[in-house]
């Protein structure tokens, strides 16, 4: 059964790219709802969007872009066979993920403390468009947060493999795919951030 497995580098990358498309489409459903409801409730969306914590959003954007840079540098480092550097960079990426999630926790705590969460009495008594905005916000950002968690875990698994030497300069497709996934997480946020924090 176990013949010397031939590694198909191009195949592995192709598979990963296809998977990333499915992730984009998953978020696509939520962005579609955002577009429809924005055109239906422009005023309520604007009012609600002004109440968002732009500071948290900006900070998290900077953190995620930095983490993407670190992940990309890790891919270059493994090609040069600098294992310590790879581990250091991956550690940095994962740390950024953790800080991102911690910021999210603070932000959501503040929102929930203000009585803003799906099905809350405050939203129920407000205009319908506002409730839709926040429901979409919690769902989209929540799903994205889940992806941050998954991506961070994935990179941690890769880091362990790098440490053990099963991912190395001759066979680093796992690291590269992990980094691709991390860039997707970053990319989705790049769309979420302006849609919910900036343009309204």
């Amino acid at each position: 059964m176990n013949h010397a497995a031939h590694k198909d580098y191009g195949g592995a990358k192709l598979g990963m790219w296809l998977f990333l498309f499915t992730e984009l489409l998953l978020f696509g459903g939520l962005f579609l709802l955002y577009a429809v409801y924005l055109s239906r409730y422009p005023h309520e969306f604007t009012a609600a969007g002004r109440d968002m914590h732009v500071g948290f959003g900006t900070l998290n954007t900077v953190i995620l872009i930095t983490s993407s840079l670190l992940a990309a540098m890790a891919v270059t480092a493994i090609q040069r066979n600098e294992r310590r550097k790879v581990l250091f960079l991956l550690g940095g990426t994962i740390l950024c993920a953790a800080i991102f999630l911690f910021n999210k926790y603070l932000e959501w705590s503040a929102e929930i403390g203000n009585g803003i969460y799906p099905n809350s009495p405050r939203l129920a008594s407000g205009p319908p468009g506002e409730s839709v905005f926040y429901s979409l916000y919690y769902l989209t950002v929540g799903l994205h947060g889940l992806h941050v968690l998954v991506g961070g875990t994935l990179l941690a698994v890769v880091a362990v493999r790098v440490k053990r030497g099963t991912v190395h300069s001759g066979d680093f497709v796992l690291l590269e795919n992990g980094a691709l996934y991390w860039h997707l997480v970053d990319l989705v946020w790049i769309f979420i951030f302006p849609l919910y924090y900036l343009i309204l």
Partner: protein, 538 residues
């Protein structure tokens, strides 16, 4: 083609291990294919029993042997099981896995472990669906479409069932991306795109639909769960939501999904017809192209499920027009199959009989689909038994019969033994007759105005309902004969050689049953899939 070398061990006894773990942890595409075959076909039989229950209930108006609440649960579970657990994963999972890698001259799929993981996800999803039937508020009663607002409010166990379907959907995505990668990367030397068997082309088109459409189902199902558990209100008009948005999201996936169901079936027919007509397939390029065209155009027609939903008239016109556009590539296929038969030396064996009835039943199903796709006539037959009849003509008469054709055509290859021909033909005749009695009556009932999913009906609909139910019994008897004959044959029947039907595609060039690595040495393809003389077949 065959050499005098000793036959290498077949995939049945290669590991020296037996028992269930040699199957459920195997990464061999043939074993995974058979796992998929037995699990999906098992769910098919469950779905059949539920369907027979529904027909038995509808034998007469008024209260018969099950109550209205049970009836709602039975038609919901019938739909969920048949669609999400049999017909979507069945053809790609079972025959896509068994046949496609061999047909392109590959040793396995691109990601064998991911392939096994997909099957596990499918089984886990199925287990969650089954759990939802017996826990919480009982089996879901929303219909397989899970329409809001009812699905957001009913006390039955919708959340868990939806989670199960979500998991099965994830499995479908992974199968799709695995197959796209396999077909791009692992074709043997000389297996150019123009030499791909048409079954592979159809699996390729299907795999793209699985990759591109299923995520939308995923997010839709997540939204139902959020609606129920968090009370997000995104589809609740009282809180600013819009239930029509649910229908859009649901059908953005679920209409392309019917092409996940029918495309591989068309691929089977495209492979079976030329072999039994002893002729190269007519219009190879157009059949291959039309698979891709169906996959592409089929992604843009979902709105024809929503003509009565309150969507705008412009949208109705556009979706109606696009629906007619999809009919063109489907018709191209039908015409090419019929042209392949023209002046062929047709041999009416069991796989061919199922394939020929596919053409007829699929054409009826397809043409009635146009009645539903035209905005004006749709209003008349929307949500009636006409839709039920149409859908079963396409899905059962189409995909179901193609699945049976594939079972008779390909399974002997993997078991090394074959079934008896005569009972297979008797079974086919019974199924074909019963099928038409069962579903044609439904279409007539629908035209007369009998709604779908209603527990009770007016007395004037009683005679045709009786006829329809009798048809379901004939169909069931045929199915039982087919299964007994087929599986008796596969385990205890006459041995078969490597190429019993005289096919020219690669799976017939390897020993029966195929060895683990499929090919003794890496094949070099020198001829097209329907080039019988170059393949050395008389």
């Amino acid at each position: 083609m065959t050499t005098a070398q000793p036959t290498p061990a077949s995939f049945w006894n290669d590991t020296g291990k037996t028992g269930i773990t040699s199957w459920i942890f195997s990464t061999d595409h043939k074993r995974i294919g058979l796992l998929y075959f037995y699990s999906t076909f098992g769910f098919f039989l469950v779905g059949v029993l539920l369907g027979l229950t529904l027909r038995l209930k509808l034998i007469a108006p008024g209260l018969t042997f099950i109550g209205p609440a049970t009836y709602n649960a039975v038609f919901t579970v019938h739909g969920v099981v048949m669609i999400f657990l049999f017909i979507i994963p069945g053809m790609p999972g079972a025959f896509g896995n068994l046949i496609m890698p061999i047909q392109i001259g590959a040793r396995d799929v691109a990601f064998p472990r991911l392939n096994l993981f997909s099957w596990w996800l499918y089984i886990i999803g199925a287990a969650i669906v089954l759990t939802s039937l017996f826990t919480g508020g009982g089996p879901p009663d929303t219909g397989w479409t899970f329409y809001v607002p009812f699905s957001a409010r009913t006390g039955t166990n919708v959340s868990l069932a939806v989670l199960g379907v979500f998991t099965v959907g994830f499995s479908s995505i992974l199968t799709g991306l695995n197959f796209v990668t396999t077909i791009h990367r692992l074709r043997a030397d000389g297996m150019t795109w123009g030499r791909l068997p048409l079954f592979v082309w159809s699996i390729y088109a299907t795999a793209w639909v699985q990759v591109l459409a299923t995520p939308i189902l995923g997010i839709t199902l997540v939204l139902i769960m959020a609606e129920r558990i968090l009370g997000t209100g995104l589809f609740d008009p009282a809180r600013g939501g819009d239930p029509i948005m649910y229908q859009h999201l649901f059908w953005i996936y679920s209409h392309p999904a019917v092409y996940i169901m029918i495309l591989p079936a068309m691929g089977v027919i495209s492979d079976v017809i030329p072999v039994f007509a002893r002729k190269p397939v007519f219009g190879y390029k157009m059949i291959a192209f039309s698979s891709l065209a169906i996959a592409a155009a089929g992604s843009l027609v979902w709105g024809h499920h929503m003509f009565t939903s309150g969507m705008s008239d412009t949208a109705i016109l556009v979706f109606s027009f696009l629906t007619f556009v999809v009919a063109i590539p489907s018709a191209i296929k039908v015409f090419n199959w019929v042209s392949t038969l023209y002046k062929g030396s047709i041999s009416l064996e069991a796989p061919m009989l199922f394939a020929l009835s596919f053409i007829l039943l699929f054409s009826i199903g397809g043409l009635t689909g146009l009645i539903l796709g035209a905005a004006a006539t749709n209003i008349h037959v929307h949500d009636t038994h006409f839709v039920v009849g149409h859908f079963h003509y396409v899905m059962f008469g189409g995909t179901g019969f193609a699945f049976f054709s594939a079972m008779h055509y390909w399974l002997p290859k993997f078991y090394g033994r074959t079934y008896a021909e005569k009972p297979a033909i008797v079974a086919w005749a019974l199924m074909f007759t019963g099928f038409n009695i069962l579903y044609f009556s439904m279409m007539v009932l629908g035209l007369k105005g009998m709604p779908r999913r209603y527990y009770n009906y007016l007395p004037e609909f009683a005679p045709l309902n009786l006829v329809s139910t009798i048809g379901s019994w004939i169909l069931a008897i045929g199915l039982v004969i087919m299964l007994v004959n087929l599986f008796r044959g596969l385990f205890r029947g006459e041995p078969v050689g490597s190429n019993p039907w005289g096919g020219a595609t690669l799976e017939w060039s390897v020993p029966t049953p195929p060895p683990t690595e499929n090919f003794e040495e890496e094949p070099v393809v020198t001829h097209g899939p329907y080039d019988y003389s170059k393949a050395g077949v008389p």
